[in-house]
């Protein structure tokens, strides 16, 4: 083979694939996501729910806290109250719209805070390993050992009711699982050759954590966090239901479910509405997180 010794620079070029469309990471995630109609539908639904909660004062036909003795427990489709009214004659539609503000905030905020705090601890534990890992993860395990509902109730119970305490207790509940996911992902990245290559090029530990570890850890953590949003809504509703969340006149889906419970034999459909709201929102978040997981998988 004397003719095989031509310049190596031209190798790999001529016979190569036709130039593929090259996109950035998030662009390629979107490209996969845009054909997943179910996820897109649920995403739209979530946006709709969030917007309706944000714009509740403009959308709600009545004051959600104004009771009316004359119109108690009206059925769905009533002339005045489209979704009926509760045992104090308050408009369900208005309360659902306003209640979405508290419930969604309680779904998203604790998870967001838990993601940040748990993520940081998890990345540190996973990347450093050894003793650091042991201290962080064993502490997490102590919290992880309790069922989440029990833990939330215990913390809320000791802190007392109110929205801040509910937020704090839910955040504490979500830190350990998110920390665990981040730790697993980070400890896998730590052993990758590209991290060694980055170290060999003189990058500082902080740079490596920021540039290599974070970007790899972020997708499993985000996906997991999005599944927790629905759990958080349910937990927050549960706490409110037990009287450990928002206090009564303020509308909240969990609280509504709790108070309407007594009227279930009178107006079953009306009583189910806050439950349906919780259900639809949780399912939407679950489906979106599933879709995200598929779309964020680089190799698919």
């Amino acid at each position: 083979m004397t003719d095989a010794t031509s310049d190596p620079i031209s190798f790999d070029q001529d016979a190569d694939l036709p130039q593929a469309v090259v996109r950035g990471y998030w662009a390629s995630v979107w490209n996969r996501l845009k054909y997943d109609y179910v996820t897109l539908f649920c995403l739209a639904l979530i946006i709709l729910i969030v917007l309706s909660a944000v714009f509740a004062p403009w959308l709600a036909p009545y004051d959600p806290e104004k009771s009316s003795m004359a119109y108690r427990l009206k059925p769905v489709g009533h002339d005045k109250y489209i979704l009926g009214s509760d045992e104090q004659g308050r408009d369900i539609l208005s309360r659902i719209l306003y209640g979405g503000r508290v419930s969604l905030a309680m779904g998203i905020l604790p998870v967001a805070l838990g993601t940040i705090i748990g993520g940081i601890f998890g990345i540190i534990a996973g990347y450093y390993g050894g003793k650091v890992n042991m201290i962080i993860m064993r502490t997490m395990d102590v919290f992880f050992a309790f069922p989440s509902v029990l833990l939330a109730v215990a913390i809320s119970g000791s802190l007392g009711g109110g929205i801040q305490n509910q937020l704090a207790s839910l955040t504490i509940v979500f830190i350990p699982p998110l920390c665990r996911v981040a730790e697993t992902a980070a400890s896998q990245v730590r052993n990758m050759d590209f991290v060694d290559a980055a170290r060999a090029s003189g990058a500082s530990t902080f740079s490596i954590l920021k540039d290599h570890v974070l970007i790899t850890v972020i997708s499993p953590v985000l996906v997991y966090a999005s599944t927790l949003v629905s759990a958080s809504i349910l937990l927050a509703s549960g706490l409110s239901f037990l009287g450990l969340g928002v206090s009564p006149p303020t509308p909240d889906w969990g609280l509504m479910l709790s108070t309407l419970r007594q009227s279930i034999w009178v107006q079953p459909l009306v009583c189910a509405i806050p439950g349906i709201a919780i259900l639809i929102t949780s399912i939407a978040f679950n489906i979106v997180s599933d879709g995200l997981r598929v779309a964020m998988d680089v190799k698919s």
């Binding site: 083979m1 003719d3 095989a4 010794t5 031509s6 190596p8 031209s10 190798f11 790999d12 070029q13 001529d14 016979a15 190569d16 694939l17 036709p18």
Partner: protein
Amino acid sequence: MNVMAPAAAADTLVRVQDLKVTFVSREESVSAVNGINFELKRGEVMCVIGESGSGKSVMMRSLMRLHPPKRTRIEGAMEVDGYDIQGVSEKQMRQLRGATVSMIFQEPMTALDPLYTVGEQIAETVRIHENIPQEAAMKRALELLELVRVPSPERRLKAYPHELSGGLRQRAMIAVALSCNPSLLLADEPTTALDASVQIQVLVLLRRLQKELGMSVIFVTHDLGVAAQIADKVAVMYAGRLVEYGSVQDVLLNPKHHYTKGMLASTVAEQEKGRPLGAIPGTPPDLRALPPGCSFAPRCRAAKAQCRTELPPETDTGGGHRVRCLFPL
């Protein structure tokens, strides 16, 4: 080499005619195997040589019908020991796997179950096909470990896969594969992950077992040295086609296809130092969009305009040495 009687119909164990395998998904279809013909006699060892993505493993897995039927389109005919692989029922196929055809893999760690001892796994395979009590099956397992020359087999019978070294694991997997006296053994790069000193042990063992048991073997490898050691027949695969087929001497010592020649030239073995190796430029073609002519034409230094438009037919250059090239060497 086994001396075979002149080709009679009963001598042929495997017959593959115009096999095509396409993986279909919503977005694209990948043509992994694009028309393969060969026959394998009883007691013969055929090496399929090809690089990653040449379709060699896909071809072999289709002989065992291991591809998910929903996403795979298989055309052509495959016959093993008189059974039509496409036509037999799933139940019959399960009986064929292990008893008539069995397979060994590159990574024994993933092929063996980490939760069971080596002995239990061999005995389990025996009992799937033969209705014998557990004790007899364990005795057979011991015999099999002796057959594959595992040192101190009694002790190894009770070992879990992770307790064995790479070479012993590979032997254990061979023992599992041989547990029901298959007439055809499919070997998918079984020595690639091993150290050179262990690789040669396994090759010598496989060849000895093949002769003792009179098995036919289809051995997939990317290493020409392995083929030189073990093959009777060699098939060179490129982009899902057999570009060259013949006896091991013919193909390795007197290659007719430019790809085979290029592979031989680029395999590092005692080349003159300081001179560039005869590398094949470029990369293998995209199996989603194969060029219309010879698949190797874009990388071939002898390619002419005709090569890019016309698919070369299989031509016999004499003595069963077939080549798919318009301008063979």
